[in-house]
Amino acid sequence: MIAIIDYGVGNLFSLQSSFGAIGEEAVVTADEKVISAADRLILPGVGAFEDAATKLRDTGMADVVKREAASGKPIMGICLGMQLLLDKSFEYGEHEGLGLIRGNVRPIADVIDSGLKIPHIGWNRLIVKKPSPLFKYLKDGDCVYFVHSYYAADCDDATSVAEYSAELTASIERGNVYGCQFHPEKSGDVGLKILKAFCEI
């Protein structure tokens, strides 16, 4: 069973449905017992970093995620959920993340050519930098769906990037902790196969 951690941000309907589509049971929950019993965890997230990080701490889910990560359970952060895994974010100020993977969240405007649109929105090709179990079914040229204005910078644990005049981190990985900047639940068959691969870790 997969636990999608509910800490009051965003709409988790599509994410939950996408696991249903690959025959996996997923529950949206903030119940520590359910999370503890789950085989795998998903840390979702949309919106602003500060707000999400605050909610994650206030609901007690930050400690739960850290504890579960330490236990070796596979955890995947998606979009803002991925960014929350990092040390720090520079989105409107400076805010602390979970620190499960080394790196900082910085504006893509720092690195992309001026004139390019922000957010980085749409389908972009995944360029693999390091092998990952998440890419078990990935084919060369496969595209995934992105919507973001900030990215994982200063990160040695990027497993893939997307080219947007600069290379923007698309996925990160350290031990049993995984993160995708893109939305696998909105990336068609390619995305579903990434979720399937996560379920097979």
């Binding site: 599509s14 996408s18 249903g20 068609g188």
Partner: protein
């Protein structure tokens, strides 16, 4: 590199897909859920569901269809039609929509875009504008293209983007339903005025129209059409193969 998006638009009334020519003379085509699955499987990059129902019963039917679609289709889903309040945003986002497109609702209540962008984020809010040439300028029309607002279109769209709209759907009433190609002149004017993605709508009749659009106006991010896809005049797989062949960044 971000790929150019191809977006079929499904006008939904009483639970069925319909498409009018120049917004009139509607005809029943197919089941929205089935059509959405079909499009997703043949390479559509995104879907737009446009609710043209007026009744409360029809609205409830629409959200049921949306929920059903979001359970089965895993590409971005934009919903428009009858979006007048933040409650309307909430209603469709809960059913699995990723983006919400506002048109007349933003004309009636100019604060709607700002409020929605603040609550749900810019990326969630799409301004859809029906625009027609009138007295030597581009003018915004309301109520599905039936009512001239008298407002100049470029300034209006720019204001919507300044207020937080993260994307623009530009529908040219002049070319809509004519199948003679997209309104390149109008699209260029809008693309030059805003820095968010612009989606071209109205006028596509064949594959070459999309190629011309993306070749002539590299700033345009996506092409949207309805009946040519619904009636199979343009097959999305063929269209995307042709785009890739023409050197246009495409997800195939």
């Amino acid at each position: 590199m971000i790929t150019k998006r191809i977006i079929p638009c499904l006008d939904v009334k009483n639970g069925r897909v319909v498409k009018g020519v120049n917004f009139e003379g509607l005809s029943d085509v197919a089941s929205p859920v089935e059509l959405a699955q079909y499009y997703s499987s043949c390479g559509a990059d995104e879907l737009v569901f446009y609710d043209i129902t007026a009744s409360a019963e029809g609205r409830a039917l629409f959200t049921d269809i949306l929920t059903e679609t979001a359970k089965k289709v895993f590409i971005p889903l934009t919903v428009g039609g009858g979006i007048n309040t933040l409650d309307d945003f909430d209603r469709v986002l809960k059913c699995g929509a990723d983006k919400v497109s506002v048109n007349s609702g933003a004309i009636r209540n100019p604060d709607l875009i700002y409020e929605a962008a603040k609550r749900y984020g810019d990326q969630c809010v799409v301004i859809s504008a029906d625009v027609k040439r009138q007295d030597g300028m581009f003018r915004v029309y309301a109520k599905g293209g039936r009512e001239d607002t008298g407002m100049e279109a470029i300034g209006w769209i720019r204001r919507c983007v300044d207020n937080g709209a993260g994307e623009v759907v530009l529908n040219s009433i002049d070319t809509d339903g004519v199948k003679g190609g997209f309104d390149l002149e109008m699209l260029e004017a809008v693309s030059n005025a805003v820095s968010v993605p612009v989606i071209a709508s109205g006028g596509a009749g064949k594959i070459e129209d999309f190629i011309t659009l993306f070749k002539t106006l590299p700033k345009v991010d996506a092409g949207l059409a309805a009946s040519i896809f619904h009636f199979g005049e343009v097959k999305i797989a063929d269209l995307k193969a042709a785009m890739a062949e023409a050197g246009i960044p495409t997800r195939v």
